[in-house]
Amino acid sequence: MKKIILAFLFNFPLFIFHSFSQETFPVNGTRENNKLYYAFTNATIFTDYQTRIDSATLLIKEGKIEAAGKGINIPEGAVITNLKGKFIYPSLVDVYTSYGLPEPKKESAGQGPQIESKTKGAYAWNQALKPEFNASSVFAADAKKAEELRKNGFGSVLTLQQDGIARGTSAFVLLADEKENKLLLKEKTTACYSFKKGNSTQDYPSSQMGSIALLRQTYFDAQWYALTNKVEKNLSLQSWNDIQSLPQIFDADDFLSALRADKLGDEFSKQYIIKGSGTEYRRMDEIKATNASFILPINFPDPYDVEDPFDALLVNLNDLKHWEMAPTNPSAFEKNNIQFAITADGLKDQTKFWKNLRKSIELGLSETAALKAITYSPAQITGMENVVGSLKPGLKANFLITSTNLFDKKNIILENWVDGISYKVNTLDVQDIRGIYNLSIAGTINYKLNIEGEERKPTAKIFFTDTVSIPADIVVERKFITLSFPVEKGKTDLIRMTGVAEGKELSGRCQLPAGTWTDWKATYKDAFVEKPKKDSTDNKPKEIGKLVYPFTAFGWSEQPKQETVLIKNATVWTNEILGKMEGTDVLIENGKIKIVGKNIAGVVNAKVIDGTGKHLTTGIIDEHSHIAISKGVNEGTQASSAEVRIGDVVNSEDINIYRQLSGGVVASQLLHGSANPIGGQSALIKLRWGLVPEKMKIENADGFIKFALGENVKQSNWGDNSTVRFPQTRMGVEQVYYDAFIRAKEYEKKLSAGTERRDLDLDAIVEILNKKRFITCHSYVQSEINMLMHVADSMGFKVNTFTHILEGYKVADKMKAHGVGASTFADWWAYKYEVMEAIPYNASILTEQGVTTAINSDDAEMGRRLNQEAAKSVKYGGMSEEDALKMVTLNPAKLLHLDSHMGSIKEGKDADVVLWSDNPLSIYARAEKTFVDGVCYYDSENDLLLRDEVRKERARLIQKMIAAKKGGEKTQKPEKKEDKLYHCDTMEEQN
């Protein structure tokens, strides 16, 4: 029973708020007048982010703005509040919250593969597609959370479920304590998307490229559903189509994902609003080119504890730099004239909202832009600018009363009015009792009392004599002032007094240490003079380190440029009929090899490099690489994932690009993994370190696709649960191929008739049949190699390359007859059963039998020593050195159809060359310079300078972090980061 009474008492205030009437709801009690005018006078009003009116009036009625400005007539019977000295702003708008929504439902993941969706009903095939989700249908006000948000100044929010790839629609709601019927301003405000499958337990997609492919396919499926479908009801596709005209918000968790999302949108004429990550400042040119509006978080990282030099090593330069630069992200958007809203999303501690926003302002964000980003822009980009975000007549009466300028460090939000209802955040008016007083106790004792400090948080000091003083505890609450202090300096016995302020005088009752009661009085003598305080933040150096491209150690502060270079007197391995030429010069110009010859003279303006004693080769091409890929190399969840594209997820920020340049690598085929018989589409890139993914891709390159055979696609080594997905045998693998190619042929016919649903998986297979896309097939044992060539012959296509192909030596004659190339390891074997007969002589036998043979890495570490791997064929099988070098240069160029402009040192070909300290096949050789398109992307001497820059920049940031910690900032412990390195059998472990 006690508990019930307590509950009632605590909840009492809520009953008051909830008693506001609703048109269709019966009233419990008597009618309340809620049609009064409220006027706020003499305030400085920001009617919108850019319009400041001093000594102005705001008039509201029935939850709406009636007028705001100067010379406004205040109707009779209005409730008038004089706000002299105070400010009024539109309440803040946050368009990225999950306010009032239940936690997304999480299905428990079973053991083993989950091929189908667990969503029951006539919905999408994939559990991560939930376009039918409607936030307004489950929205329920949350008084506690609303109060927390109002404290920060928010008056309305967009609320959405942050779960899944197609996340359905959001709702726009007020943060008042009313019935949902009044709070819900707009249902289905925006449609929402991401690349993260969230709580979906279905296997597909397991990678970001899979998420992209799923969205792409769903756009086509929805078009088909709207136009031609006569065979199925699909409530998800129905909803998808219904919400296409809404603003579309895409959650992109790093700046590369933002670029990827925008590119995907372009394919379907969709302009997403991008919910950013706070890392966009790293590539503003490309971010601007998206033309998207952004919703930016300001959850800036805390500094790390870096006093321990060993522990500090665990924090990478990009994290150190991000700590410093993250607060500059909003101002980068302002400088580039990109529309953006700011969200509190991602802040673990909501009280950091203002602190962080002010940090951004200190670092260059204008107050006008900041105000716009928290009021007008969020409303505007979600189509709510005529409802909230400014104080125009007719808009919701959502506004803040503040003690001073909103962005001033000392500002206090006093009241937050939402829907015309006032919510007190702090007491509107306090009496300023600061001053110098004569304190008299019991009319006999006389001390001097100084009340100083801040208006709302005064401090007190008692002077027993002119020179002997002691601080007194003072608490001011509403009208009451409570003071306590020792009777004498050095004693602990306290005099305790409470009184009220009336005019300039303070008076009340007090209790002496012995417990006797008496009166006290403090007479105002003089004003308190505020000493100008040194603002510690103003003295902090505002210096911010340089942006580097990419944003990691060894990134460029200035991108290297194409040069005219003359390399003199080197041993040149041409890979052409001239073979290895001693004492030869090579001139490169405009990114091409201009002249190869002896004693080239008469070249002006060329940078001359002495190649005496050194060797020059064309750059190494890695036919099989998994570096520079974001978020998953395998979409191995289905037997065929031909629809996924590595090109969608190239990662320009991978340090392995630079590391491989230092090993003479200039280009790589970024392959899908080998988890399924038909994998994904490859990307061919040049290692243009510092450029964005789209600029790394090799222009006009042919399309390639990964196929795979053997233990990986049979899931032989994936544990006892992975025995469900077809195929589990080599027999099944063959049938996957026949099925795919037969279906693709039929599909192509129907597609031209215009009745067929676009199927991106089959599109890729059709491209193979039409010689528009070429196969690189992961393979080990001879039977399966033979099998795929038979499938190809009977279906009318050719296999371009067998990769790994460790038993290629057993069927070299058949491979030669089929016309397929080989890309193999030098000496890997014995790591699984199917490689027990792999031999290091493989490349030599294949080459001898006339098969175009390359040596590849499939490994970020080996990728930078491919010259050594090639040299192993000199040992194993006695290959000539020139042929061995071709296996990592010309031959992969041939296999990738790049040999018309890459792969040898020949006039007119791309200036992708490497200067080596020694014979490139020697273990003692080091790449000294690596050029791609005539740009020197690696130079061993410059590398030493970059190391120095890394060291200095780290040292500077570490000093700055420690200073920030000393200045009182909360810190975080260093955590060790490990680079994620992919091999072709890297699989999803969990999500």
């Binding site: 330069l317 699984k832 007969e837 290091p840 001898e848």
Partner: protein, 432 residues
């Protein structure tokens, strides 16, 4: 059904491995003398034109060829223009404890339990592994074979890579105990979206259990016990120095802690394994006589900020600092890949070592660290005649070409399954 399946797998494996491995070498009958080769002694010196004699499995003399008087009873082999080296030694391997990494039934290096000092690699070592003959053909003639996993993994032994059985092949029984130092960080996130490694909440607890076990084991080793604990029995020789203590540890700060841990328990022979950040704390290693079995040189730096060639140049940094170190090939695909150990030494030359220093890092230094330098690691009189002849520089893959190899004077069959397959298919295509 499952049983049937297992039986089939078993039969399948038997047939698959039906090819006979190389026959162990026969004992030496008379003194063999290698004449005129360039002898790389292993201790930093070279004899350009050398004479190397060995008899009864032991090296009898190593000298300049001019000092050798021909004995007509000697079996003289002229190796003019060729290089002769002490057998390379691979420390910290699982050779013979695993045949096919992906096939569970062939994995024999990691037993159940957390503290297993008593499990011994020696008796599990498979002399008939198909991998071994492909290793020794690149000059590696000795290997330390180690249990892995848990906190205290077990006891290793050192083997010569030839023999009818483990008793026959063992070079040093139970040479050391191997510990995985607890890590301060453990994994987070998933592979496509890795999160930073989180602080390992169990670190202190794990460390405490290791401390306790050592304290108990030390007390146990000091006086007669009425009840036998075979785990602690296995630990006894660690404290006396008869066995060495190998601790796997990478980060600099952990290395410091390990050094003081060993000091606390008065461990005479501490060896760090892995030690990728040893280059940051060389002084403490040198002062305390701590040796290092360095992880694979062909590796990536531990973070993007490190010098891109850090793993390549770490040997040079340890060399300059005077730390006793050797090179290992531990890591992914370590057994089949071990034959590349000499080339990792070659890379260390490209990044600062001299060729003879790099050679020591896979011969003499390794022998010292494993405690077998009385019989292996250099070409010196009195040591085992475990050596090989290469037609060229054995640290460079282009020229590493082992033509002759001896283990304790026994001449090895240098054929292997891969050479046989090469020959088989060359014949197929040439129509023979």
């Amino acid at each position: 059904m499952t049983n049937m399946k297992n039986i089939f797998t078993f039969l399948f494996l038997i047939f698959a491995f039906a090819a006979v491995s190389q026959t162990p070498a026969k004992s030496q009958k008379k003194q063999i003398v290698l004449l005129n080769g360039t002898a790389h002694i292993g201790n930093g010196t070279i004899i350009q034109k050398s004479a190397i004699g060995f008899d009864n499995g032991e090296i009898t003399f190593v000298s300049d060829v001019r000092e050798y008087e021909i004995q007509y009873t000697d079996d003289i082999i002229d190796i003019t223009g060729k290089q002769v080296y002490p057998g390379f030694i691979a420390p910290s391997t699982t050779l013979g404890l695993v045949e096919i990494e992906a096939v569970r039934s062939t994995r024999d290096f990691d037993d159940v339990g957390f503290i297993n000092p008593h499990v011994r690699a020696e008796i599990s070592y498979n002399t008939d592994s198909k991998i071994t003959p492909t290793i020794r053909t690149n000059g590696i003639l000795l290997a330390q074979v180690c249990p892995r996993g848990g906190l205290i993994s077990g006891t290793s032994s050192v083997f010569a890579l030839d023999g009818w059985n483990w008793e026959d092949a063992v070079c040093k029984t139970d040479d050391g105990i191997h510990i995985n130092w607890p890590t301060r960080f453990s994994g987070g996130g998933w592979w496509a979206e890795p999160e930073p490694l989180k602080k390992n909440e169990n670190f202190e607890k794990t460390l405490a259990s290791l401390q306790k076990f050592f304290a108990d084991a030390k007390a146990y080793s000091q006086k007669g016990q009425t009840e036998t604990d075979i785990r602690m029995e296995a630990m006894k020789d660690i404290f006396s120095g008869e066995k060495r203590l190998f601790i796997n540890v990478d980060l600099a700060k952990d290395i410091i802690e390990v050094v003081y841990f060993a000091k606390q328990f008065g461990i005479p022979h501490l060896v760090l394994v892995g030690a990728r950040e040893a280059y940051l704390v060389t002084d403490i290693l040198k002062i305390n006589n701590v040796a290092v079995v360095l992880d694979r040189v062909h590796d990536l730096p531990v973070s993007p900020d490190r010098d891109i060639d850090q793993p390549f140049k770490t040997p040079k940094q340890l060399q300059d600092a005077g730390v006793l170190y050797c090179l290992s090939y531990r890591g992914g695909m370590e057994t089949a890949g071990m034959r590349n150990l000499p080339f990792t030494a070659g890379t260390a030359v490209a990044y600062g070592l001299t060729q003879e220093q790099a050679l020591s890092a896979i011969t003499l230094n390794t022998a010292k660290i494993l405690g077998i330098d009385d019989k292996a690691g250099t070409l010196e009189g009195g040591k085992d005649a475990t050596l090989f002849v290469s037609s060229g520089d054995a640290l460079d893959m282009r020229t590493n070409n082992v033509e002759l190899a001896f283990i304790k004077g026994k001449k090895l069959d240098l054929d292997n399954m891969q050479k046989q397959l090469f020959a088989k298919y060359k014949n197929k295509y040439s129509g023979k």
